[in-house]
């Protein structure tokens, strides 16, 4: 058995439990729809033992899979009652994700086998002079990741006390302000009641209220109540 483990090692450390399982299934040349669960579980556990003995760091995912395998193995040992023939083969719990993962692997191989730009074919490196007219500094592509990356780099350069917590709550208030400003830019004014849709939940109502407060604080709006009707109206300043 130690020979076999050595052989496994030669094939490299597995990226995850799925990789290891697929390796074992192929090595034993077994049918994925009829996995000899006891055999595969044994070999899987031995590999984990080996990784432990070699002090190889491995993710907890390997242990989760070990537990799953053991569980399936014990389920298989339970006697099947005749009236329960409709019950699923416990191994399906393994087969389905394995098939899906194998599909992903094949798709990855297919992608890697395509003609790759920068490897098999090339495009022109754009000459700066073609763009010199714009007079701008380094030009970058616009993408959400570029935006947040730019912001992250800025944050790294400023002191902690200047940091603003960018929790979802704060962004939600900003978002609400943006919506109200959109409305005000269109209409100039809006009644307080119109700000709250009839199906608004408590959270949304609080959010809108916070947004209105913030806007008053920034003197972006003026709030006026009609003497007779009592209707409260927001005016964009």
């Amino acid at each position: 058995m130690s020979d076999e483990i050595y052989k496994i090692q030669l094939d490299g450390v597995f990226e995850g439990p799925m990789d290891l399982l697929i390796y074992l299934i192929r090595k034993n040349e077994v049918d994925i729809y009829d996995i000899p669960i006891a055999l595969i579980t044994d070999q899987y556990l031995k590999y984990i033992e080996w990784m432990k003995s070699m002090n190889i760091d491995f993710a907890g995912d390997f242990l989760v899979m070990a537990a799953t395998l053991t569980q399936i193995k014990s389920k298989m040992l339970l006697p099947v009652h005749e009236d329960e023939d409709s019950e699923e083969d416990p191994r399906l719990e393994l087969t389905k994700p394995l098939l899906e993962y194998m599909q992903a692997k094949s798709a990855a191989e297919h992608l890697g086998g395509r003609s790759i730009l920068g490897e098999d074919t090339f495009i022109r490196t754009i000459d700066k002079e073609d763009y010199s007219e714009t007079g701008e500094d380094e030009i970058i592509n616009v993408g959400l990741f570029e935006l947040i990356d730019a912001f992250k780099k800025i944050l790294e350069n400023i002191s902690d006390d200047q940091r603003l917590d960018l929790t979802a709550d704060r962004i939600s208030v900003k978002d609400r302000i943006a919506h109200i400003v959109d409305l005000l830019e269109k209409q100039g004014s809006i009644t307080f009641g119109e700000l709250f849709s009839s199906d608004a939940n408590k959270g949304e109502i609080i959010l809108t209220f916070l947004a209105v407060l913030e806007m008053v604080k920034l003197s972006l709006i003026r709030i006026v109540q009609h003497v007779h009707t009592g209707i409260i109206r927001l005016f964009y300043l």
Binding site: E15, M18, F122
Partner: protein, 181 residues
């Protein structure tokens, strides 16, 4: 002034890094219809084919791009010794899952791969092969990922429909042999 649409388009294709869509060309030239543009592109392509020079007109990522002919790849590699964009197997798997299952959230990717994918997602984002599409309206509002135009260009795909189905890939031959574990 516009008599020379073909030359203008050729110049545009020359300076544009990414592939140019017909719509894009249309808006640059301020034209109303695409017929002239299509004709010019096809004339250019024919011309490049007839002269069989160092490059050709390639249809990719929903647009057009001038690319070098593969037979000169060897020489270009002598010229530019930059390390090509190598993508690890793990990253390729993650990318494949996103390509086929997009829009997809991180936990679904990790469910399929069975391992954490955070670092790989970050790298793919940095390389602009994937992008954040928004958030899924489920508890936790997780970010949704999808592939980009650069992804299509890198793998020479006209559009996402150009990807073979997983059934087609399986038919291409059982790629699953024991050596690649």
């Amino acid at each position: 002034m516009m008599e020379n649409i073909k030359n203008i388009i050729e110049a545009l294709l020359f300076v544009s890094g990414s592939s140019l869509t017909i719509d894009r060309i249309k808006s640059v030239l301020a034209l109303n219809n695409t017929k002239e543009i299509r004709d010019a592109l096809s004339a250019l392509s024919d011309e490049y084919e007839a002269r069989k020079g160092g490059f050709y007109l390639h249809e990719v990522a929903g647009g057009y791009q001038i690319r070098t002919r593969p037979e000169y790849t060897k020489w270009i590699k002598h010229l530019i010794r930059i390390k090509p964009l190598r993508i690890s197997k793990a990253a390729m798997e993650t990318l494949a899952i996103i390509a086929y299952k997009q829009p997809i959230i991180r936990s679904d990717i990790e469910h399929i791969r069975g391992v954490d994918c955070g670092g790989i997602l970050r790298t793919l984002l940095e390389r602009k092969l994937i992008r954040i599409l928004g958030r899924k309206e489920i508890p936790g509002r997780p970010l949704i990922y999808a592939t980009t135009r650069q992804f299509l260009e890198l793998f020479d795909l006209k559009d996402l429909k150009d990807l073979p189905t997983t059934e087609e890939i399986e038919k291409l031959g059982n790629t699953a042999d024991a050596t690649d574990a």
